[in-house]
């Protein structure tokens, strides 16, 4: 069981996380979701102590995590990063069993374990065990990274935006694979993503973070049915991309904030903005009581990103 108790994190005068209280049960597949900069990765990295909180404490099985031997802790924990991060100089089998090697497990046993896991993710050990990472496709690399995290049969596996570099098809397959492996081995998985679709699909429970604060914790159903606030409603609210809505543009962070005054025109529609920017190169306006400024270039950049087919939510959240 993992417990965050009054956890906070400041970096200089920047507050990354504040007042986090959260419990993750054993065997759960727990998702931390939120837009970029919400502090979800920081929260995850406190579990393997790549980051140490500046306030509060994280407990693992009712014991402060900082009192554990950090190397032993990490050695018995799975970790899957955004890029597969396979060691390019080691074979697939050596990559998969690198933690076992550090634990002092014999060579024969390591080979058997690698073969077993490779079979589990449909990679023929005969064919793949002795290859090098650069000889694999991106999807295969990510599968190897996945079983590398399971090699020691850890009780806890951390996954940090593990599939964000994969295309939608591969991504879905990888998600299914994680669900299947979770069924088989039953580790606690803490899964970080900025993709709410992924969160809804994967999580037993989901914790939503925004600007360093915990917005809501609950099952996907609870969150969809009873969103705790407007942010959550907006984040999960629409299944359709609505980049043409002003709320999304404002949320994208592309715009410069300005002090709001009465002189600023009040805009409510995206189309108003486009009309006005046809006559002036730069425009300051107010929206929902906030002042913003936008140039024609900024708008074109925004539209250009949308035009290239990027998921609007990705843009809005990153």
């Amino acid at each position: 069981m993992i417990t965050y108790r009054d956890v906070g994190m400041t970096y200089g005068d920047k507050t990354i996380l504040k007042n986090i209280n959260l419990t993750i049960e054993d065997g759960e597949l727990f998702v931390l979701v939120g837009p970029s900069g919400s502090g979800k990765t920081t929260l995850l990295r406190m579990l393997n102590q790549l980051t140490v909180p500046t306030a509060g404490d994280v407990y693992l099985d009712d014991r402060k995590i900082k009192t554990y031997d950090v190397r032993q802790l990490r050695l018995h924990m799975g970790y899957v990063l955004q890029d597969s991060c396979l060691f390019p100089n080691l074979t697939v089998a050596d990559n998969v069993t690198i933690q076992l090697e550090q634990q002092g497990v014999g060579k024969q046993q390591r080979r058997e374990r690698a073969a077993e896991l490779l079979t589990e993710v449909d990679l023929d050990p005969e064919q793949y065990a002795d290859r090098y990472p650069h000889e694999l496709s991106g999807g295969q690399q990510q599968r190897v990274a996945l079983i590398r995290a399971l090699a020691t049969a850890p009780k806890l596996v951390l996954m940090d935006e593990s599939f964000s570099a994969l295309d939608p098809v591969l991504r879905q397959k990888a998600q299914e694979l994680v669900l299947k492996l979770h069924q088989t081995y039953r580790p606690t998985i803490v899964f970080v993503t900025h993709d709410m679709q992924e969160a809804l699909r994967m999580g037993h429970r989901i914790a939503v973070l925004h600007q360093g604060e915990l917005q809501q914790v609950g099952t996907p159903n609870e969150i969809l049915r009873h969103p705790a606030n407007d942010f959550i409603r907006q984040f999960f609210g629409s299944r359709q991309p609505h980049w043409w809505q002003l709320a999304y543009l404002v949320q994208s962070g592309l715009l410069d904030q300005v002090t709001v005054t009465d002189q600023l025109p009040v805009l409510t529609q995206f189309s108003d903005l486009i009309t006005r920017l046809q006559t002036v190169p730069q425009l300051a306006f107010q929206y929902q009581g906030q002042g913003y400024s936008v140039t024609r270039e900024q708008l074109l950049t925004y539209l250009g990103q949308e035009g290239s087919g990027t998921d609007a939510r990705t843009l809005a959240n990153d």
Partner: protein, 508 residues
């Protein structure tokens, strides 16, 4: 070309020895440099600020000219193989450190973090991730270092470390292109060979492992051998050095033969072409060498201070030199050989015939016809041209100063018609020059004799006795002939020396 093959086949033993010595020096330096630079880079990679300082320091060492560095080493570690290895090591550290450091610090930080997050120990990360990833850079560093060492090691000959540089130095000194070619080409080949070999080895993991094992076994074997050598009872060790040129080398070989004839357990090391006067004399003072052949004239002009006028008699000059060496430097100057060596002036045979010049006093008549080539020392010294002008009323039309070896080239090509030289120079015979008789006895007659520290003489009376048998032996004609055989005909100095000793009943 034929002469080159002749030289190679005559001296193949010596060439091979120099070649192996070159490899030995280079590899010892490389291994030591690796033992220093690699751990240093590994250690400093996580202390970037100090790592950068390390780069700067290594860079500064690199900019010191190699000869200067070798010179700087002499007061600290002396002469011979040790300072050469130290200097070469210092040079090799730079590329090794730089490449290792760069290789280690350029690893993707995300991979490093992943390794940390997996709970891998520092050692495991180094062994499984960092070192293998940096390996190509490290190997290229080793290649650069090795090629540089092999090249720079040719300069090590200047401080008596031996190797292929001996041939280059000899070639320059004796104006012998064959030696230059042998020394230069072999060291270049060596560099190419090892560079290629390392490239081959570095291209596969398996070869790398095999090489590592071979090097390790080699080191163990070498260490064991050296250990056994060190444990064995040491025979008497005597080091004989000599200045540049064929004459000292012939004399040294005679010393060696004579010493070993009396004491077969004596182990005599020869260091021919060891360096200039000041250098060899310093080495003797530091007891880095035990004996070297020196001339009475040089003793008086360069090694000791005396207010006394240089006597005109060879015997008196020797007595003065011996006395002053004993009192000023605590050195023993043994019985001199017969031949008198000193400056002379030589002219072309045509010049001699045309102007009827056979003595120095004849030159006054033809002052305006003389174009002389002088050793820079000779032209400026009171016992050289300056004194000669007064004694014989000379004032030559034209004087060119040039390096000793070039001066004979100049007269051989008839660019000049008069040169200074030494009585026993083989070039006189080689170019059929005419030596002018010193009819007013201006040049002091100098004699050669073995020079050693008094302490050494006390401890080795048998050596003194053996060397004194050469006293009063060897005429100027003998010496000139032997010089000719070695310097011009490229015979081995040891053969020539031995032949003389046997022919004159000094050896059985």
């Amino acid at each position: 070309m034929h002469a080159l093959w002749q030289t190679i086949s005559d001296q193949r033993g010596a060439i091979l020895k120099a070649f192996l010595q070159h490899i030995e020096i280079s590899f010892i330096a490389l291994l030591i440099a690796m033992a220093i630079a690699l751990p240093l880079a590994i250690w400093l990679r996580n202390h970037r600020r100090w790592g950068e300082v390390g780069l700067q320091v290594a860079g500064v060492i690199q900019t010191i000219p190699s000869l200067a560095l070798l010179g700087l080493m002499i007061p600290i570690v002396g002469i011979g193989t040790v300072p050469a290895v130290v200097a070469l090591t210092l040079y090799a550290i730079m590329p090794l450190y730089q490449n290792t450091y760069a290789g280690l610090t350029q690893i993707d930080p995300q991979l490093e973090e992943a390794a940390v997050a997996f709970g891998l120990s520092k050692w495991k990360r180094l062994q499984r991730l960092e070192f293998p990833l940096a390996l190509p850079m490290i190997i290229s560093g080793i290649r650069i270092a090795l090629v540089m060492i092999i090249g720079t090691a040719t300069l090590a000959a200047f401080i008596g470390a031996g190797g292929l540089g001996d041939y280059i130095m000899l070639g320059i000194q004796q104006n012998n292109n064959q030696y230059l070619v042998i020394g230069g080409v072999l060291s270049a080949l060596l560099a190419l060979l090892f560079s290629g070999l390392l490239k081959f080895i570095g291209s596969s993991k398996r070869r790398l492992t095999v090489t590592g094992v071979v090097v390790l076994l080699g080191l163990v074997g070498w260490g064991g051998y050296a250990g056994i050598q060190a444990l064995r009872p040491q025979p008497v060790q005597i080091t004989i050095a000599g200045k540049l040129g064929s004459e000292p080398e012939i004399l040294m070989n005679m010393y060696k033969d004579l010493i070993q004839a009396d004491n077969s357990r004596a182990q005599v090391t020869l260091k021919p072409n060891f360096g200039g006067t000041a250098f060899v004399y310093k080495a003797l003072q530091r007891q880095q060498v035990d004996i070297y052949p020196e001339f009475t004239g040089t003793v008086l002009t360069s090694l000791i201070k005396t207010k006394q006028q240089t006597p005109k008699q060879a015997g008196a000059i020797y007595q003065l030199a011996k006395r002053e060496l004993a009192s000023q430097a605590k050195m023993s100057f043994l019985t001199p050989m017969k031949y008198e060596n000193g400056y002379d002036l030589a002219v072309t045979p045509e010049f001699s015939r045309k102007y009827h010049v056979t003595k120095l006093s004849d030159l006054k008549r033809v002052n305006d016809k003389v174009h002389a080539a002088f050793d820079p020392d000779f032209s400026n010294q009171p016992d050289g041209y300056l004194g000669l002008q007064k004694a014989y009323g000379l004032d030559f039309a034209k004087i060119s100063k040039m390096e000793p070896s070039l001066r004979y080239q100049a007269i051989a090509n008839r660019r000049v018609n008069l040169v200074d030289g030494y009585t026993t120079d083989p070039q006189v015979q080689q170019y059929h020059l005419v030596i002018l008789k010193d009819d007013r006895h201006f040049f002091p007659p100098y004699q050669g004799a073995p020079l050693m520290n008094q302490s050494f003489a006390r401890d080795h009376p048998d050596v003194v006795k053996a060397l004194n048998r050469l006293g009063g032996k060897i005429t100027a004609a003998d010496m000139r002939k032997m010089n000719y055989q070695v310097a011009v005909k490229h015979q081995q100095a040891s053969t020539v020396a031995h032949r003389y000793l046997v022919a004159h009943g000094l050896l059985k």
